[in-house]
Amino acid sequence: MKYLMLVCTDPNYTPGQDDGAPDVVDWVTEMDGKGIRLMGNRTRPASDATTVRVRNREVLLTDGPYAETKDQIAGFDVLECADLDEAIEVATKHPMAWAGMIELRPFWPNDED
């Protein structure tokens, strides 16, 4: 199963909550090596975001993020896992699960099978 792993910051972050967290480079190396991480990247902060909407065939642009996402999204990865339990274990090993939070979203399945 494919999961989108949204890596988010914690607005209530307190220094020290991520003491002892694993290293992100180790995480990428391990998950790439296992064929679990298909792709991923950090994203620039919300201040660099542009929101695009088309209304009445007119393109409307907003400087900044779509309101509800605030400035929480810090990056994403795409995972290929056997099931949710494996995806949870992978997410648990990511340092941002300690310093922030991670949302796992299953992909809508392809019609390949």
């Binding site: 896992c81 056997a82 099931d83 949710l84 339990d85 995806a87 299953p106 099978d113």
Partner: protein, 414 residues
């Protein structure tokens, strides 16, 4: 005949649902096929008699129904290929059917599902209650409960929650979730005489769990705790529907066989030397249950057990209980010394039993005016009529006399 079929339903429903989930991977289809198999049994068995291997008969019937349903659903070609590729399981006798109720329990209680969804799934798939029955038990419209179950099953399918017993390294995280749901069901049924069926069902499921995981001391401890509490049920409420405190309960009404069973289970669990909160609470409940009279309760032992509980599972409620037990050994002043910090912390401000307990201790310490103020605070917070009536009686007693009788912690009546 109807009774025997009902008995087979109680034991067989979850077995068949679990087998069908494994076979089809589809929870709704699994339930439908199980339901259909029982409907056919109700129709045929009164004429043909109950087969020698009823579970095998039901499973085979459910399986044939599933194959039928999948074949007819032409849009689900992939599923059809899957089923066709499978060696269709055939069960000549009941003993050969794999018991996958443990897989079912762990999947229903997966922490990625919210607690309400977990409870609803357990009642539907494991206890075999209908959506309407579950809705009634939780005072929500049937439609709401139907949606809750629907969404939970969707989440299991879409999010990829596996149908399995978690591997060893995940068990310490996952078993408590299962225990939590079963105990919550028990409490729901224990607190309300109208829902006694839920408590019985929780005990039945706890027996299934300990039967399938005999080496988990906390599971044994939880079953022991349920049995010990449930044994006192006939004495907990008087004919007027009022709560009776542990002190005042008629101990001849307690179910001695169930107390004996609970005590043995608790000892068996503790011998494994992996004490946990359920085992310690069961040991405390056993101390109360085996005392011939309230006065003969082994309070020093209970103080020790609460001390251990406070060490491994600290919290203000445990602390409050420890204070009460300490009060029984060392007197009300020693107990108040432990209760006052809880009051000052403000953690249990809205908890009527904190105020009721403090009121009782103050009464025993001869501080009647303060005691009455605490009883009034408890009265404002008490959740049920029975509890309010109880507190009013206590308040009246304190107001009427300068000296109370031998005190008893009000909340242990629960």
């Amino acid at each position: 005949m109807q009774d025997r079929i009902a008995g087979i339903y109680a034991d067989g429903w979850s077995r068949i649902v679990a087998t069908m989930i494994r076979f089809t991977g589809d929870w709704d289809l699994a339930e439908e096929c199980a339901q259909d198999a029982f409907a056919q049994a109700l129709q045929k068995w009164p004429k043909t008699g109950i087969p020698d291997q009823p579970l095998a008969w039901l499973t085979t019937t459910a399986r044939n129904r599933a194959i039928d349903r999948i074949r007819r659903a032409s849009t689900e070609a992939a599923k059809l290929r899957e089923v066709a590729a499978m060696e269709p399981p055939s069960y000549p006798n009941d003993n050969e059917i794999p018991d996958e109720r443990l897989e079912l329990m762990f999947t229903c209680c997966h922490p990625a599902l919210n607690l309400e969804a977990q409870v609803a799934l357990v009642l539907r798939s494991l206890a075999g209650m209908s959506t309407a029955e579950i809705a009634r038990a939780f005072l929500v419209p049937e439609r709401t409960m139907g949606q809750r179950l629907f969404r939970a099953k969707q989440k299991i399918a879409h999010a990829g929650i596996p149908f399995r017993v978690p591997p060893g390294h995940l068990l310490p995280d996952r078993l408590p979730a299962v225990l939590h749901v079963l105990y919550l069901l028990f409490n729901e049924g224990y607190g309300d005489p109208g829902k006694a069926g839920l408590a019985k069902e929780a005990i039945r499921l706890a027996r299934v769990l300990t039967g399938l995981m005999p080496d988990e001391p906390e599971a044994l401890g939880m079953l022991a705790l349920m049995l010990l509490h449930d044994a006192r049920r006939p004495a907990r409420v008087d004919s007027a529907g009022d709560l009776v405190t542990l002190d005042d309960q008629d101990r001849s009404l307690w179910d001695q066989a169930q107390i004996a069973e609970g005590t043995v289970l608790c000892e068996r669990a503790l011998r494994r030397r992996r004490a946990g909160p359920f085992q310690l609470q069961a040991a405390i409940a056993a101390c109360h249950a085996i005392a011939p009279t309230a006065a003969e309760t082994d309070w020093p032992q209970i103080v020790g057990l609460y001390g251990e509980l406070a060490r491994i599972a600290p919290g203000p409620i445990v602390e409050l209980n420890r204070a009460v037990a300490t009060g029984m050994v060392e007197g009300p002043d020693a107990a108040l010394a432990l209760v006052d910090p809880i009051v000052e912390s403000g953690q249990l401000d809205g908890y009527y039993l904190l105020h009721a307990t403090r009121a009782d201790l103050l009464r025993r310490a001869g501080r009647e005016p303060e005691s009455m103020a605490s009883y009034r605070a408890a009265l404002d917070l008490a959740p049920t009529d029975a509890e309010r009536r109880f507190l009013r009686r206590r308040l009246a007693t304190v107001a009427a006399s300068e000296h109370g009788g031998p005190g008893e912690a009000d909340f242990r009546a629960r």
